[in-house]
């Protein structure tokens, strides 16, 4: 791998940047691998990278039915934070946030992490109590968190309307200063490039159509580019996780829903933090290009169409204007949707499956981008050793039988 540096930048400027090498090889599928990872989103690519880096397992293929990062990784609103209520989630997301803080250097690619602070607004007395409690829980877990009064909210983010006569008055907010956003594509590219440099084959346009199981053990996968044998198979298919599990003969507690997002026309810098509101369901930040990046809640029905209904966007825009009347004349440029795999307790599933050698990482739903590095880290451990890492042990599939749910639905503020 050619390392990026200021020196390389200057050198390549001499021939007008025509000699930069490709980020990764266009690998062709081989007959067999030690580990096959299904899904080249951020989580699958991070898994492959940490398998190689932390565990020395490099005979690995990452299979992707479309293009790398073309799933939810390339469609999300990129909010990063770790201020979850429950201990299990707090540890997992905080591990991830710590990895984010060193990620650009580790991958030698700028993922443009911008720790601009994340506000979670409170509009009711219940929201206030929940927010104060969450800040305290976060602090006990060693995670930074502050409670802001309405005036402090206005100081931190002057364009929010905190008028008490509003339909959804701002009664305060939690603030995690280390939270922020990152460049989603760069995360996928950075992990792909770094994994490729360690020998991982990244194979795009290769859809897994079947999972081979013999005597209760996984032996390989069927793909649109032929059969591939595998010692272990790791499923990281996000919205398609139920389809993949079905190929191996078991069902999951997840449901696939469209989640929509949109961007406005670019405007001058006006919003230098991330604002989220659970009650009215809007989350917004401003990109470096100047566009407002906004997300809605999930569409209620099951879908694999990467397309949602207009009334969901309309509802979300109403909430935005309630908080920021200043945006009322903005035009929207693009809307799109991803297919998110929602778990009943809004927490992921990371661990073993009923099939030996087959591992599962899914259920991140509307909020897994922030977890990309940590998820890959603990999942690589799980796949390499056959045992969960202490951080993901509570997130096993059998929690739905034992009842040990990690219920972040109402607890974690908006689940993004």
């Amino acid at each position: 791998m050619q390392r990026f540096s200021f020196f390389q930048l200057a050198l390549n400027a001499l021939d007008r940047h025509r000699a930069w090498p490709a980020y990764w090889r266009d690998a062709q599928p081989r007959d067999a691998y030690d580990v096959v990872v299904v899904g080249a989103g951020g989580h699958g690519l991070a898994t492959a990278y940490y398998l190689a880096k932390n565990h020395g397992i490099t005979n690995v293929a990452v299979l992707e039915k479309g293009w790398l990062g073309g799933g939810n990784t390339g469609r999300n609103t990129t909010i990063i934070r770790s201020n979850y209520l429950w201990d299990e989630s707090a540890r997992l997301y905080e591990h991830s946030l710590k990895l984010w803080e060193g990620l650009s250097a580790d991958l030698n690619l700028n993922v443009m992490l911008s720790q601009r602070g994340v506000l979670n607004l409170a509009h009711t007395l219940h929201d206030v109590r929940e927010g104060v409690r969450r800040v305290q829980a976060n602090r006990l877990n060693g995670i930074d968190g502050e409670w802001l009064s309405p005036e402090e909210v206005r100081e931190f983010c002057p364009i929010i309307d905190i008028d008490a006569r509003r339909r959804h008055p701002v009664l305060g907010a939690t603030l995690q200063r280390r939270g922020g956003v990152a460049r989603h594509d760069a995360v996928a590219w950075g992990y792909a490039r770094a994994a490729d440099a360690r020998g991982v084959d990244i194979i795009q346009n290769c859809e897994v159509t079947g999972i081979d199981v013999a005597g209760g053990r996984v032996t390989g996968v069927q793909t649109t580019r032929g059969a591939i044998k595998a010692g272990k198979v790791a499923l990281v298919g996000a919205g398609h996780s139920s389809v993949l599990a079905g190929m191996a003969g078991f069902r999951l507690p997840v449901q696939s829903h469209p989640l929509q997002a949109l961007v406005s026309e670019p405007i001058k810098p006006v919003l230098d933090c991330v604002v989220m509101s659970n009650a009215v369901h809007v989350y917004v930040s401003q990109s470096d290009k100047g566009e407002l990046v906004m997300g809605a809640g999930i569409d209620a029905f099951n879908s694999y169409a990467q397309r949602g209904s207009f009334h969901v966007v309309e509802h979300q825009m109403g909430a935005l204007l309630e908080l920021f009347p200043i945006f009322s004349r903005l035009r929207m440029m693009r809307t799109w949707a991803g297919i998110v795999d929602v778990c009943p307790d809004a927490s992921p599933i990371i661990g073993r499956t009923p099939v030996d050698g087959l591992f599962l990482n899914c259920g991140w739903g509307t909020g897994g981008f922030k977890a990309t590095p940590g998820s890959g880290w603990v999942f690589a451990h799980t796949v390499a050793t056959g045992e969960p890492h202490p951080l993901n042990a509570p997130f096993s599939l059998d929690r739905f039988t034992t009842g040990a749910l990690i219920d972040e639905h109402g607890a974690a503020a908006v689940a993004h």
Binding site: H240, S242, V243, R251, L252, P253, V254, Q255, S256, A300, F301, N302, S303, Y304, A305, R307, S309, F310, H311, P344, F400, T401, T402
Partner: protein, 96 residues
């Protein structure tokens, strides 16, 4: 936006309805007797099909009655609507 044919009120727009998820999930008749795994099955596990799906909807801002739809989860095409307890129409292209 879906145009949903309520069996009682006719076609209405989606925003009048509440989605109730996968249809025909039967509660075990004797909950105390079922093993934990079966209970987990009933409470949490779902088919989540990519293709034709039977799902429940409620006409929340209309007649407030529940019914079932046969809808495709990729094209969003609606093949049939039928009241609870009615005979299940077959999924398009199958006899089941």
């Amino acid at each position: 936006m879906l145009l949903i044919p309520c069996p009682w009120c006719g076609p209405r727009e989606e925003s009048e309805f509440a989605n109730g998820g996968e249809a025909h999930i039967a509660r075990p008749l004797d909950p105390a007797a079922v093993p934990e795994a079966d209970w987990a099955d009933y409470v949490f596990l779902r088919d989540n099909p990519k293709g034709w799906m039977r799902e429940r909807w409620m006409h929340a801002q209309g007649c407030r009655r529940w019914f079932n739809l046969v809808r495709h989860t990729v094209t969003h095409e609606i093949a049939a609507a039928y009241p609870p307890g009615a005979e299940r129409p077959p999924l398009p292209g199958t006899t089941a």
